[in-house]
Amino acid sequence: MDFGFTPEQEALRREVRDFIAEHLTAEIVEELEGLTEGFGVSRSVGRGPLVSRLFDEIAKRGWLGISYPKEYGGQDGDRITQYIVEEEFARVGIAVGLAGSGAPAILAAGTEEQKRAFIPKLISGEYSFALGFTEPQAGADLASLQCRAVRDGDDYVINGQKMYTSAAHTATHVYLMARTDTAVPKHQGISIFLVPMDTPGLTVRPLWTIQNEPRAPLGTTYGAYRTNETFFDDVRVPKTTLLGKENEGWGVGSMGLNLDRVGAARYLISVRRDEDIVNWVKTNRFDGYSPADDPAIRDKIAELWIEAQVCRLMTMRSMSIVEHGGHFTYEGAAEKIWAPEHGVRTSEAITQMLGPYGQLLNGSPYAVEKGIFAHNLMGAFQSGINHGSVQVMRDQVARRGLGLPSARRAGRPEAGR
């Protein structure tokens, strides 16, 4: 076991940190705060001129797509180095890594043509994906999705509706899960398509979240961003948009989803408030009252801090597994239970420490740190719902990790995703 980083990795971390200190100006932060995309703004959804220029500088240093092969625009680097860079940027709300659903899945299952067409542009930020998984009647039980893709000559024709397609309004493509066979068990009739967003018949309607009015401040878990409903009406795409084999989309999708559940960004959104509250407690006085002297607050802060370390270590374990070519049996799911639930516990505990100040939202007089703790209380919970809810993740740990049997009750979803 080795919990340390090499001197080169430590030096790189310092370099990234110095870069951020130098380049993340107040003007860029203002531009970032105006955006309506998910946690981690990438170049393609950044749009603003300052953020774009910042990404040019990041790219120049070779910090995009570090662990991807050189031939597809990457750096042939290792996964741990990429993690270090991702972690430092995630702290300031910038995504330099690529989600699991997308580039890694294309690398694993794509044709040579698809790899060349997508990976370099995903790395450079020219392309980005929205995730078209969830439907009105298929959430945690994703495999019961109904959106249909029907083969017609050299094309597929897609009809259906997707829910909560975050970033669909800025993405170039949708990474779509659709049903290609209705006659087989539900997991066996699913395929993945890489569909350009500008394909005729594809429309996007915004869904605003409870974080938008007033706007959640930058860095909030599930902050001020817009998600969408996406409608597919006779959307015709060539068969070359199919990723992997027809009806084998479940396996391809699961692999990507597993990676989406782990990593720097997911861990940091769950633990950043721990750091904030310690620093707040250290520096705030109210007339004669100092929260730093309250034994109950001190005890709770230490408890949260310990939990945050477990989040960090579980992420490091997942990264170790990824880097050394292993597969998750339950470790990714473990991380996806622990970190989001910690995020909820910490949001609740912190608002108790703040008492009535805990209610104040962004822009309110007397708001603490732009109301981030109140906003986080609203947002933290979502991390335990999406990409495999904590209940589904527990099913996975129990059944895949511990070999517990499936129940005999009818209609029970399997712990596949």
Partner: protein, 392 residues
């Protein structure tokens, strides 16, 4: 960075597990609960042959000079087997001697430890149960080239089986670390009397009274009156290795519950097919994993010579609560049978629960962490070391 076990570490774990499964059945564990000595000397000598006692001791004295992480793996297996061995007390005292004693003191003690001829223990806690140095009231007064010790120590492990004990004493007036000394005491010295305690773990703890016990001055570890930091390091090692032992026992305990749930049928299906049971099992494993990650990070930091006090406290505060919760859920999953004397599960339940009460409560360890986080100057940053502040 690689948090997975290396092949060598896996091999060590495998060998230790196979050895204890063969040599330490639960019949032996039960027998030692009522045995006056409290440990099987034959097994103790075999573990010495495997190199456990000397694993992290210097090669000069016959040890293997391996990292504490390796010793952690061994302690986990000892916990898994709930092996009634005086290993924790012996290695913790021996490591303190190896790091802080004079060459003559090391030469006198360590080779015997490595061979399995010597059992060691240490004594810190007194009547005031708090896990902090101000509670030490036992006095050691210089008298020529001797020290004269007077006081009472509680909860001392395996004192009657041990040959020597490292005793934390106050050699000068003061509170906290000030005026503390760590003294190597022959457990058979005149003036020592012991009273056995009847414990939840049914292990061999006792109260030890020192009544004008004369010890050569040369037995002080480090400089007289400056033993505070030595004691703190000793307790940190003891605490983190106890975490490893707790986690080994807790994982085994959880595995028994998980297995049981696969075969115990209720309402027409195995109880392990019920989601309420499955989710508890999932949490049990996630918590144990979390405790292991915290524990091994602390051990790893010690191996690198980095400050690890906060990491030790993180591990113990977490293990105290999570290991206790796991063994409680395991009892719950077993229904009534877990409460029966003839069923083995309680061997783990009672020990893990007792270990959670020793070497610092969750509150105390969290107070130490809070002190470092809140009372230090400047801001804290996640993932970077917490500033070191002097112990309270």
């Amino acid at each position: 960075m690689n948090l997975l076990l290396t092949d060598e570490e896996k091999m060590l774990r495998h060998t230790a597990r196979e050895f204890l499964e063969a040599e330490c059945p639960t019949t032996l564990v039960r027998a030692m609960e009522t045995d006056p000595l409290g440990y099987p000397p034959a097994l103790w000598r075999k573990t010495a042959e495997l190199g456990w006692q000397g694993m992290a001791l210097p090669e000069t004295y016959g040890g293997q000079d391996l990292p504490l992480v390796y010793l952690g793996i061994i302690m986990q297996e000892v916990g898994r087997a709930v092996a009634p061995l005086p290993l924790l007390g012996t290695v913790v005292a021996a490591l303190t001697i190896a790091s802080d004693a004079t060459p003559a003191q090391r030469e006198a003690i360590l080779p015997g430890v490595v061979r399995g001829d010597t059992v060691l223990t240490w004594a810190f806690t007194e009547q005031d149960p708090r896990f902090r140095p101000d509670t030490v009231q036992t006095r050691a007064v210089v008298d020529g080239d001797h020290l004269v010790i007077n006081g009472t120590k509680l909860f001392v492990d395996h004192f009657t089986a041990a040959d020597h004990c490292l005793v934390a004493c106050r050699t000068a007036a003061g509170s906290g670390h000030a005026g503390l000394s760590l003294v190597l005491v022959d457990t058979k010295a005149p003036g020592i009397s012991t009273t056995p305690l009847v414990t939840l773990a049914k292990d061999k703890q006792c109260a030890v009274v020192f009544d004008d016990v004369r010890v050569p001055r040369a037995n002080v570890i480090g400089r007289l009156g400056e033993g505070g930091p030595i004691v703190e390091r000793m307790l940190d090692r003891a605490t983190v290795l106890l975490c490893a032992q707790m986690l080994g026992a807790t994982r085994k305990d959880a595995e028994m519950a998980i297995d049981y749930s696969k075969y115990r049928v209720a309402f027409g299906q195995p109880i392990g097919a019920l989601q309420s049971i499955q989710h508890i099992c999932a949490d049990m494993i996630v918590w144990i994993d979390g405790g292991e990650l915290l524990t091994y990070e602390a051990l790893w930091k010690m191996d690198q010579g980095l400050p690890a006090g906060i990491e030790v406290s993180q591990a113990k505060a977490f293990c105290n609560e999570k290991c206790e919760a796991v063994v409680r859920f395991s009892q719950m999953i077993h229904g009534g049978i877990g409460f029966m004397m003839e069923f083995d599960l309680h061997l783990w339940f009672r020990r893990v629960s007792a270990w959670a009460m020793r070497l610092g409560t969750s509150y105390e360890h969290r107070a130490r962490i809070a002190h470092a986080l809140i009372d230090s100057p400047g801001t804290v940053v996640l993932g970077r070391p917490v500033p070191v502040v002097v112990a309270v």
